[in-house]
């Protein structure tokens, strides 16, 4: 029996699952937007702008979810500053939740700036203050800010899995692959979100096709990492003999295998993207709840 079975569940439930999901999308979206921005074709610009917007909105939602989830939400700032010693910064480089808080904060800052820049470029900002800020973020600065947002997105997509690993909880701490898995899932769901939203911002068929082609690769990576993750759990895998194991199977079936098949068959891009999102959500749902649901006294009782 893994020693993780003696730890207590942190009650990370729906808000955190939603955060992991939204954060993954935002991170993945931001990464893809930055890559398109830096390396892509000019006609892919709408994809980039969509990505930055997804990132900005996602970052704000993420921050909100995280804050609401706190036992004492008004003390959210204690993660950034030492409450007894304000304004000395609060930062622990070895604690994912600490550097993650900073990550989310910076990601929010950069993605919102980039998004404002994009919106200013489109002329959609009417508030003078926002227009001033958005207008400032253009050209090379916009590219740099976007690039940073992209890198931070990569971090946001992946750190959540690392956060789970750096615990003593069953499943999460029983194998090292969760960060990689969440990262892959974040990128795949980010791409899927762009596939769904970018057409509204004027993205071309070609842009979407490229995104979709990349999503296929991301899904393959995700599947591969998932297999490695499950393999690394060893005996702990018996916890999947539960409702959440079924959810995971459904997630893999509908969220990875089905989209891959649809891509192979060149069927509806949007349909596949929706399934990818579903899969990403179910993956997090199953991973969190399968662990949360383990009650430690059952272990001691030999049950």
């Amino acid at each position: 029996m893994s020693d993780t079975f003696f730890s207590g569940a942190p009650h990370w439930a729906w808000l955190i699952i939603l955060y992991f999901f939204v954060g993954g999308i935002a991170g993945g979206g931001s990464l893809l937007a930055a890559i398109v921005d830096w390396f892509g074709a000019p006609e892919d610009r709408p994809v980039a702008r969509t990505g930055y917007n997804v990132a900005a909105v996602g970052a704000i939602i993420s921050g909100a979810l995280l804050t609401i989830d706190l036992g004492r939400p008004l003390r959210f700032w204690h993660m950034l500053f030492q409450s007894a010693n304000f304004p000395t910064l609060m930062f622990k480089g070895w604690s994912p939740i600490s550097f993650g808080a900073w990550g989310i904060f910076l990601f929010g800052l950069f993605s919102v700036l980039t998004a404002l820049g994009g919106m200013a470029e489109e002329g959609r900002l009417h508030n003078p203050a926002l227009r001033a800020v958005g207008g400032a973020v253009r050209g090379t600065l916009a590219k740099v800010v976007g690039g940073v947002a992209g890198l931070l997105g990569l971090f946001i997509a992946g750190y959540t899995g690392v956060l789970l690993s750096v615990t003593n909880r069953p499943i999460w701490a029983d194998g090292p692959w969760l960060g990689a898995l969440f990262l892959a899932s974040g990128v795949s769901t980010g791409a899927a979100t762009l596939i769904l939203l970018a057409p509204g911002r004027g993205a071309t068929e070609q842009s979407l096709a490229r995104l979709s082609a990349f999503d296929t690769k991301a899904l393959v990576v995700e599947l591969l990492v998932l297999v490695l993750f499950v393999a690394s759990l060893g005996a702990v895998n018996r916890v999947w003999l539960s409702f959440w194991g079924l959810v995971l199977l459904v997630g893999v079936g509908f969220g990875i295998l089905a989209p891959l098949r649809m891509h192979a068959q060149r069927r509806s891009l949007a349909g596949a993207a929706r399934l990818v999102l579903l899969g990403g959500f179910l993956l997090r749902l199953a991973t969190i709840f399968a662990s949360e649901g383990i009650e430690r006294y059952r272990v001691a009782a030999g049950m």
Partner: protein, 191 residues
């Protein structure tokens, strides 16, 4: 030596993997010992009154801490040769005998046949109980048995309780009833 062992660098080194990722530092944060900002000691300015546990018969000594006449803490008296400061779970819960929203604090009266209590005045209820005791005593008093034995008693009133109460209560209780001629006086000793 103890401090050294707990030094942060040693800590992460023994934790093994921690240092592998560069920049694993804390800004103004260490894991070294510090004086925590704890809440103030609850009994700092409390008055201490010696008492005894009211549960079982071991007679554990307790100390009651009060602040402005309010009980803030009750714990074992370490001087006691019986309990040396220790208590059982019931003794440790004496506080909740006192500070407890479920405590009854009003006098209740139920008229014969009524389906509800009424809250009544303490003095009125005492007067009424006094009247009832006198009525029952006067109606049932036996001076002599049919065989001529002088007994001066009534068997019609039953007084129960005392083993959870003070010696002084027991004296007052039995003197009251025996004085009136009531002999059916009992407590928990027999059950």
């Amino acid at each position: 030596m103890l401090v050294g062992r707990r030094d942060f660098l040693r800590l992460t080194a023994s934790a093994g993997a921690g240092t592998a990722i560069g920049g694993l530092v804390g800004l103004g944060v260490t894991l070294a010992p510090a004086v925590a900002r704890a809440q103030e000691l609850r009994i700092k300015d409390a008055k201490t009154t010696p008492s005894i546990c009211p549960f079982c018969s071991v007679g554990c000594a307790t100390l009651i801490h009060t602040v402005d006449g309010k009980i803030v803490n009750i714990e074992g008296d370490p001087r006691s040769p019986h309990n040396e400061g220790t208590l059982c779970p019931k003794g440790a819960a004496i506080y909740q005998l006192h500070v407890n929203p479920n405590r009854a604090t009003t006098v209740l009266h139920r008229k014969p046949g009524a389906s509800d209590w009424e809250v009544v005045e303490l003095e009125w209820a005492m007067d009424r109980v006094g009247e009832l005791i006198k009525k029952t005593r006067d109606e049932t008093f036996i001076e002599k048995l049919p065989n001529g034995k002088l007994v001066n008693m009534t068997p019609a009133v039953f007084a129960l309780g005392g083993a959870t109460l003070d010696n002084e209560f027991n004296h007052v209780c039995q003197k009251f009833w025996r004085g009136l001629g009531v002999v059916a006086i009992e407590n928990q000793a027999r059950i």
